[in-house]
Subunit: 203 residues, 2 copies
């Protein structure tokens, strides 16, 4: 199965701007992408990076259009198709295998705030609509089309990386390059009182 991984090159992860420089955010975004690519390969699937600009990575397709137009064009031509967000820093190969083992026309693995973190589409007439509660929109689209839809339940795919507090999840559950990169930046998790907090050692 083909697995599309959309990747936005410019100004990635802007909400981390308070704790990471622009260059560090770019590096983190890149490391997360590579963690996702690695999980896709380990699951036995073929990753295709759908990038807004050329990055020089293997298996890259450059498409500067918006996310929805680009992905919907792929769905018209290639189903089954899996779409995996590039900031799922703690996703595991088992997640991708479990998703592909579900037999519904559409399988959705939701992210925080109603996002769609992984989507498997087996019906070429399905159309995506990312942004703003896309999880509920995608469930509703499948219902309206009268096709089957499953929710895949996993916190490894639910956790995406947008905010400072998400970095702690990488430090706790991550096993790949993203965690290594954050450690190299000097991040660690400390207990203050009863609460874990993310701290950064400056060298």
């Amino acid at each position: 199965m083909k697995v599309l991984i959309p990747f936005k090159v410019t100004n990635p992860k802007s909400r981390l701007g308070k704790i990471l420089t622009h260059r560090e955010r770019k590096e983190l975004a890149f490391n997360m992408l590579l963690d996702v690519v690695e999980s896709v390969k380990k699951a036995g699937f073929v990753p295709k990076i759908l990038s807004t600009q050329r990055t020089g990575l293997e298996n890259e397709i450059v498409d500067s259009r918006g996310l929805n137009s680009a992905i919907n064009d792929w769905i018209k031509s290639y189903t089954p198709l899996m779409i995996v967000m590039s900031d799922l820093a703690i996703i595991r190969p088992e997640d991708l295998r479990n998703i592909s083992a579900l037999e519904s026309d559409v399988v959705i693995s939701p992210g925080r705030k109603g996002g769609t973190n992984v989507l498997l589409v087996r019906n070429g007439n399905f159309r995506v609509s990312y942004h703003g509660l896309s999880f509920l929109k995608h469930v509703e689209t499948a219902r309206r089309m009268g096709i089957s839809c499953s929710v895949y339940n996993s916190f490894y795919t639910y956790v995406d990386v947008d905010e400072e507090s998400d970095l702690m999840e990488i430090m706790i559950h991550g096993k790949g390059r993203s965690r290594g990169f954050l450690e190299k930046c000097g991040f660690r998790v400390e207990i203050r009182g009863k609460e874990p907090v993310l701290v950064r050692e400056k060298d």
Copy 2:
């Protein structure tokens, strides 16, 4: 199997103080507890509410000691024992059944920030240590004891309710009393730009 649900009566969910009154926070905490109790019953298990004060609920045991002392005393006397946090407002009966189907000596379902949201203990010598990265501490305790330990992966059990943004998760994925209560309070999720936001209608 007995399922302990620790419940703190005084000043619950203090971090929601900006958007909910003290009375509303108490009511939300109570509704979340009842959602958890309902899921435990639907899964076919016996809920025991381990409450810091008398509330008048069925199946209540009052214990004013700290969480760790109270639970460790239970583990000494009753294993297998499952411990489920009372603020897992979107937990489903399947989660509890899936956890009990795992055969390890210890099964942990982690929560955000390294918490332990559900814990199944089958070895009476295990001791809990909640607060501050308890997920990693519990994994390490099992390793040190040389007993088997599994991680149960679910976002329905990963989501606990501490902060304002967590209420949105109840509005999106909740099916029980907690969601009904928030709706009654006038909360709904709106899209502003591309982002979903939680808004409250005042009547």
